[in-house]
Symmetry: C2
Subunit: 360 residues, 2 copies
Amino acid sequence: MPVRVLSVGVIGPGRVGSALLEQLRAAQPRLARDTGITLNLSGVIASKRMWLDCDDPQLNNRQNGAQTWRPGNIDEFTAHVCGNHKRHALLVDCTAHNEIVAYYPHWLASGIHVVTPNKLGLSGNLARWQSIRHACRSGTARLRYEATVCAGLPVIQTLRDLLDTGDRLISIQGMFSGTLAWLFNRHDGQQSFSSLLHEAHALGYTEPDPRADLSGMDVARKLVILAREAGLPLSLEHVEVESLIPPTLAGCPLDTFMQHTSTLDAPMNARLAQARSEDGVLRHVASLDCDGHARVQLRVLPSRHAFAHTQFTDNIVQFCTDRYRDNPLLVQGPGAGPEFTAGGVFADMLRIAESLTTCA
Amino acid sequence: MPVRVLSVGVIGPGRVGSALLEQLRAAQPRLARDTGITLNLSGVIASKRMWLDCDDPQLNNRQNGAQTWRPGNIDEFTAHVCGNHKRHALLVDCTAHNEIVAYYPHWLASGIHVVTPNKLGLSGNLARWQSIRHACRSGTARLRYEATVCAGLPVIQTLRDLLDTGDRLISIQGMFSGTLAWLFNRHDGQQSFSSLLHEAHALGYTEPDPRADLSGMDVARKLVILAREAGLPLSLEHVEVESLIPPTLAGCPLDTFMQHTSTLDAPMNARLAQARSEDGVLRHVASLDCDGHARVQLRVLPSRHAFAHTQFTDNIVQFCTDRYRDNPLLVQGPGAGPEFTAGGVFADMLRIAESLTTCA
């Protein structure tokens, strides 16, 4: 089998980044033996410091040990990962902020592959998205971002395969927030909505500030990424987002919000009652149609709807296309969490590695 | 973007083969423009005759027109698809029988890529499967067969990604027969099971002889393919298959069977009653665990099980792994039909095409 070697740099060793590093380390021997693919970790860069393999070459294969860190510099880091002889290089942006994406067009134009689970950049400024796409199309480097939508679930590639094989998108619908899926699965009137919110927060199912989940903006970003994958020039401001945060609690400190969550109870009970009067269920749904109309909202769905029977924090995505018109294609499962997200990133890296062939 | 050209030969222009040919033809201009990939149809071979593009070069881009057929010869066909200058070549086995798979090891060893939706060969003789795998691993050619299990649903690649990124399989469960899914979705006691069977047959949801569906062997073959994908040396004879065909009707002519389907009613009613007494539903389920135990059987599932809420003829596949242990990963949708199967084959072809890079 062909031997393919990829020099890898991981940016942002946070929860996802460190889960990825562990998965990569554990997989090294098996990968080389079974697939001929070697993913060499050349460096890791955090916000202020970086580790380069030239400083601790033996550390790559050990889980523990003192690492030699030097001051971080993204250009130096990138140059080190690329090396002197134009080896195949891949950078993984595991940061949770919007800064690294500014480098993508330059990296891609230089032939450096990029993989990321970071939604911020790819759902941000449309012109920047278009310059990133242009850099991919004019060169040979690849950008993959499966894990931006539902972590390790096969979503973006599934959409890509449908469109590339000539199918035509009618709509995508999904529950893209595990937090909100859990809340509305549990919200049956037996407990107040606010007590469920506190339970979810204590279980770690919400962001540290649950308003980040209730705003619906994280879901809207995933919808923007899917729309752009389908060739629709959607931006965040075009998505109709129904925020579940009471206006009076939108801007106050977190403590104040957490003490006043009971403000949510009456409206949520009313929504539940409405759903029941229609023999339906209440679900937080994102939807996109082929004309680019995008919405994130709390909706009443028929009780036989596929979204009425998911469990716990499952995400679910439904693709309606010309082929899958009456019977859509559905993917479901946990859509967030470091292990799942790292797995999705790792699969993207392998796909890029598979596309590198040695000259025959 | 890199330009990649693949010479394609289609074997077996039946229902799936002709759906594929149409999808390929329709996609040509867009593919070349958007991805740089050109899939050149070099020939089509049926059971006794073949069409080679050198005989009608202009036909490739037209849907209609008299084709020049010559007597079929698989070796001549293969040589023509490969051409004189060792171009990248791919053969698609769209036949429904077991003969072409004998060529796979030789083709793969010669560097010819192979894609197939045909389950027979890959779920057949274990030694042959192992020689096919060996031919892939020692060379550069690829074999892809996503469409053997659930047509266009992302199943085999999903399993592959989980395993390649270091996840460990616990079990796979699925409803792999659209026919049986439909029957047991509808079987609620309001109509006799046999009348539902006749309805399904009239709607084209069953094989011409419905015993091919009721035997469970087609489902067993899909389980064998998944097991082998997961590295388990399973053969069809190791799968515990519960046939739903009454023994007295197993060997008689089709007409006789169709006149005596009421034999099925009493046992099916009894099974339904049993399910209801347990507050469950009756479903035809295939299951495989990590020790290689494989079963195909009619089972009672809890009414909250994911398999209790699928629609119509949907297939559904559930992956339980170390990562997806408490919350499995699920894929669901139509799992049979020429358009879906052709789409799955086409996606496999694109994946192989993406892995061909020109030497930089």
